[in-house]
């Protein structure tokens, strides 16, 4: 049993800005919070491969096909780093995937929306990765060492993704009328879900207070969302895209953009399973995971056989 004293010492380390490592003492709540957050983050990277993967075979040029493939690969790699970070907290990959399939673990709500036209690939890179970066840059200083280090690696790649996404949008806005329509259509569909990625307003956020005390979370949902809005509105203007919010305006007093009301009903509806793609994403993951079972079993069996042979020889 860890007493009050140990927990105080832990909090002292956090307050001093120390990183917590896998073998260090941590309160159960801290560990649980991290497992939940890191696994949700890992699953998001992996599930996020699906909407973008939807366009790989239809990418319109050899260059764009390679960029998209490499991008999706990066996301899979992020999933891997994060699964490893979660594993340092004493949970296995098998358990993590089971929790995803049972619905116990979540993934980012954004991937429950469909990628409908080629500009969606631009919008996802620019807006979704763009929103993710704001969050992840802040997480580079999160108090858990393995998570923080995973974030540092991930952030370098995410900023590429965001630039490449923006480049697709910019090119399409310079293109034919149909291309401009596709770009604006993608903008209209992805803008609000991207803002919802930061989660509920600070006043309604259930997990925030502990996470802030433990410095897992360094900035609040609303602070992060505002950063994203401020940088993105200007980028949209430059290439001639309209932000689908008639109440959007620059606030001279605060120096920030004010936005209209976020539709939290939609957010809750989608998070509770009624988005356009919730079922599809999960069924896809389960289907291919199950179809691959015989391959994983074979690899395991082969490894055992080899080991047995080596022991015989020795």
């Amino acid at each position: 049993m860890h007493n009050e004293h140990t927990n105080q010492h832990f909090q002292l380390r956090i307050d001093n800005g120390e990183y917590i490592e896998a073998k260090d003492y941590m309160p159960d709540g801290y560990r649980k919070h991290l497992i939940r957050q890191i696994s949700q983050h890992a699953h998001s990277e992996v599930i996020g491969m699906q909407p973008e993967g939807n366009w790989i075979t239809r990418a319109p040029s050899l260059r764009s096909k390679q960029i998209l493939l490499a991008k999706i690969q990066d996301e899979g790699g992020h999933g891997l780093y994060l699964y490893s970070a979660a594993e340092t907290l004493g949970i296995s990959r098998v358990e993590l995937i089971d929790q995803l399939h049972s619905g116990k673990a979540k993934y980012s709500n954004i991937f429950n929306y469909p990628a409908l036209n080629w500009a969606d690939i631009g919008a996802i890179g620019w807006l979704v990765d763009g929103a993710a970066i704001v969050n992840q840059v802040s997480l580079q200083r999160t108090s858990y060492g393995p998570y923080s280090r995973a974030m540092v690696r991930i952030c370098k790649e995410e900023s590429f993704h965001q630039r490449q996404g923006y480049e697709i949008m910019a090119n399409m806005m310079k293109g034919t009328k149909e291309q401009r329509e596709m770009a604006q259509d993608a903008m209209n569909r992805w803008w609000w879900p991207a803002l919802m990625m930061f989660g509920p307003h600070d006043t309604d956020s259930p997990h925030s207070s502990d996470a802030v005390k433990w410095k897992i979370k360094r900035e609040t949902n609303d602070e992060l969302r505002q950063k994203f809005i401020d940088k993105t509105v200007q980028q949209a203007e430059i290439i001639g895209l309209t932000i689908p919010d008639k109440d959007l305006k620059f606030n001279e007093k605060t120096g920030h953009y004010d936005i209209g009301k976020i539709n939290w009903d939609e957010f809750h509806r989608v998070i509770n399973g009624n988005g356009p793609c919730n079922k599809q994403r999960m069924e896809h993951h389960i289907k291919y995971h199950n179809e691959g079972a015989w391959v994983r079993e074979a690899a395991e069996a082969y490894k055992k056989k080899r080991l047995a042979k080596q022991l015989e020889i020795a």
Partner: protein, 252 residues
Amino acid sequence: MTQKEALFQYCLRLGDNALILGHRLSEWCSRAPFIEEDLALTNMSLDMIGRAQALLKYAAEVEGSGKTEDDLAYRRPEPKYFNHLITEQPNGDFAHTIARQLYISTFEYYFYSDLEKSKDKTLAAIASKAIKEVKYHLQHAADWTIRLGDGTEESRNRMQKAISDLWMWSGELFEMDEVENSLLKDGIAVDLIPIKALWSNHIKQVLTEATLNMPEEDYMQTGSRKGIHTENLGHILSEMQYLQRAYPDAKW
């Protein structure tokens, strides 16, 4: 057939192989048995598409009619495609993808090792980059063939079936016609006759280690040298070329 026409055709054949196999491998994205393998398969796909881009770019240059590699990839219909039929075969289960890769990568290993010595400087340069990638593809395919062959009973059955199912598409890899023959004279193309024996030996060696049987000599399918394909290619192209065909004026 002039030398120029032969070289153009040769580049198309090699470029199309890489492009169509790259397309098939990319279909694995988010569908592999586990995430590391997802990354391995899409990595091979990336290698292939990069190689296709280099080869089709060169093909366009040789043809000299101002086309780009994208024009060649996205605006040619099926009969003008010259990839080997094996590259367009569906992924099937993981064992089928591995068997297809084993046949092709073994071939490419000997092929590109030779093409590296081509008198055509561009092809030689493309080959020396390709061979580095192919070595890894071959290792990956051979490792999995052995693992699956010598894994569980189910994996062994699946691997054996895949090896047998794809066998009839392997003969085409070694076909030579006037394109190869005329370029061979000038030291540009690769002689496929000696490669066939090397290929068979290596496949046999891997299958033996995998405790699998080498298929017997049998009728081999043919057609792609003349642009005659299986039903698969039409579907691949209708997907791949969709945006370029639907919006012919757009630049992407």
